[in-house]
Symmetry: C2
Subunit: 413 residues, 2 copies
């Protein structure tokens, strides 16, 4: 039955993929209109979801993610209009090469096809993903968490009405209504139907999809990010970046989890950093040298602290001998997400960039900037931590593939 | 044990990834030199492989693929030097954007990491893949077919000597010496160690890897390619392209397998095409209309003929009502490899390009041009028929990933 739904979704894509820019943008505006018109229905559905979730004993944080308000629905609609305003990623060719035999060969951006997304309890993801997919000419098959099923059904219904209002098939955006674990596993086996599967959510969800999917996956998310304070750093700048990278939003993947400090500046820098971190009661877990400098308030760091993404007001701290110990530590424990160095030294900065194997490498800036919006992509479908297809923040362009277009005049080989 | 080998290979990559262009190019020349120096040993090893393969009753075609000669080894070495002469795909940034907050963000090309390749009995693949990987800064783990094991060991030994001659670790190019089915399965489970796995060879090998791998895969190969002769085609050009696409090398993936002909020109065109195809004794398998025109010599086409990659002097032929039936047929039965239209009509050509969902779409040219060399990539690691990461012929650039480099002056978010 999931296969039937996916096949219908893929078949409907035939119309979406040849729809012009204007039609796809109009669809996004109609989808946004439909969300606003259906606000009462969506809020009622969400109230039922919340009621069920409370009965099931969901945590306050989970309930918060699940909650929709009139303002949040307005935000979803506004987001769709922003995506509509982005440049069309489809149809352009960066260049057309003339070959010696007279063939003109261009590489055209085309949609991927059918994009599957498995996510958790945030119902706004339904609208966000649908907007990015429709804009980039992709059909999408959405499987959200069971807690949000009634909200998601109501949202999807509105989105489909928007599509149909401009003559596109509602089947281009479809929700998997079976939220059992089996339905997620079934999605991972839609080889030849799904062109890509993107998991969004917890580390365990992502790992399960990466391990089990037979469909090509883009791995997103895990961020064990570091900041290395070099012995030639501006220590005030380093403290400011440290505080920002840890404390501005600790729950997200681009927040810093481990601070590495050159032993030459540790005695001067660590108390400076601690003074700032103390204002947010950040728990420090330090190596022996860190504890010798900062004293008993620092928890001794265990081996697992170097590999933990706390997503909380906790920071691991290690004093290192210099650049090479720092980059070796990062390449060993990091998840290849975002890594920063603070230094005044040009050569040290270049060597850090060359040696660190991560999606985003920063010199004298906070890792918190790893984000599609901050990078100028307008909207973001996730942050890839794999190397194939896309790495780092993924915008509309990363939801495309290419097609070689070859213009000839009868050439044979 | 395979895991140990792979971990060693990945660890050695740390040196290759920071090696500059000159060092990597020198390595390729030394590897080529080493192949020439070891010619006698390689030929002796190959003779033993051939001896074993004959005893095992391998087909003449398989034996031919397995055979090395002094000229073929010279060719392998020359190929390495050609790869060395290619532009370096690593380290460049297409552009660096200045963001409103003053951050400069560039996208740098970086190596993928550890590339795994599973292939069959051609020992020259060992040298070709190693050359492409070293040039693009990637370590590689090679698992060739059991028939070629002694040849592959001898070739790899020479290649490693070449790497070591410039101070790079021999571990950057490693052969999996266990050629059991189990070792291939083990490679597919090297999650987090292998950055990509590329199967090269038969359709069944590729399918097995796509279905079972937990490591990201690039699917290569299968080509059920079509040529559509439009009612406004230059029929002499159409016949020439038909003959070339089918007969210039029927065993390869970019050869045509099905000819689609508009009913308006079928009566005039089909006899013209048949006259050429008859010179190579091509077996035609036609629809009813084709048989009505060409007579009893044409075998009736069964349903499976539309989905078969013959790789032989056999051609399926179907008369269609026009462009839309042709593109629907192609999208239903094609493998998304290479598709051609022959037409004089500008609008029909554009519509064909828009509607056909394939890696390469040709107007008035033979599908046989789908090839890294013909497209100007210099060398080719395969032809991707998936949409993620790479689609169509893959050259050095497709063995790379990106890294965002962010230069700041203390920016926080």
């Amino acid at each position: 039955m999931l296969t039937d739904l996916a096949l219908r979704c893929k078949a409907s894509w035939e119309q979406l993929r040849i729809a012009d820019t204007h039609t796809r943008n109009s669809a996004l505006h109609k989808m946004a209109d439909a969300l606003i018109s259906a606000k009462d229905e969506i809020l009622s559905a969400n109230a039922l979801d919340l009621n069920n979730a409370e009965k099931a004993g969901l945590s306050p944080a989970m309930l918060e993610r699940l909650t929709l308000t009139p303002a949040r629905i307005d935000g979803m609609a506004a987001g769709m209009r922003e995506v509509a305003a982005q440049p069309d990623p489809i149809g352009s060719m960066d260049r057309v090469d003339k070959r010696p035999n007279g063939l003109s060969i261009g590489v055209k951006r085309v949609p991927l096809g059918l994009v599957g997304v498995i996510y958790e309890s945030r119902p706004n993801v339904t609208a966000d993903v649908a907007a990015l997919c429709v804009k980039s000419g992709n059909a999408c098959l959405l499987r959200g968490g069971k807690e949000a099923i009634l909200s998601n059904k109501s949202i999807t219904q509105a989105l489909c009405a928007g599509l149909e209002a401009v003559g596109l098939p509602g089947d281009c955006v479809r929700l998997v209504e079976d939220t059992s674990r089996e339905s997620a596993n079934d999605m991972m086996r839609l080889t030849g139907i799904l062109d890509v599967l993107i998991p969004r959510g917890s580390a365990s969800l992502i790992r399960a999809v990466v391990e089990n999917s037979r469909v090509p996956v883009i791995e997103t998310g895990a961020g064990n990010c570091h900041t290395y304070v070099d012995d030639e750093a501006d220590l005030d700048m380093a403290a400011s970046i440290t505080f920002n990278a840890k404390c501005s939003r600790p729950s997200v993947c681009n927040a810093m989890e481990t601070l590495l400090v050159s032993e030459k500046v540790a005695e001067e820098f660590l108390p400076k950093a601690k003074a700032l971190l103390d204002t947010k009661n950040v728990e420090l877990r330090g190596c022996e040298k860190t504890r010798a400098i900062l004293g008993g308030g620092v928890v001794p760091a265990a081996g697992e602290d170097w590999e933990t993404e706390y997503n909380d007001y906790i920071l691991a701290v290690k004093v290192v001998s210099g650049l090479y110990e720092a980059t070796a530590h990062i390449n060993k424990y990091g998840t290849g997400h975002s890594e920063a160095i603070v230094t005044r030294n040009y050569f040290t900065a270049q060597r850090f960039i060359d040696r660190v194997d991560a999606a985003c490498v920063y010199v004298n800036a906070s890792t918190r900037f790893t984000d599609g919006g901050e990078f100028g992509f307008g909207a973001e479908i996730g942050i890839s931590t794999q190397k194939l297809h896309a790495r780092g923040p993924m915008g509309l362009r990363h939801l495309t593939s290419v097609q070689y277009v070859v213009y000839g005049e009868g050439q044979i080989r």
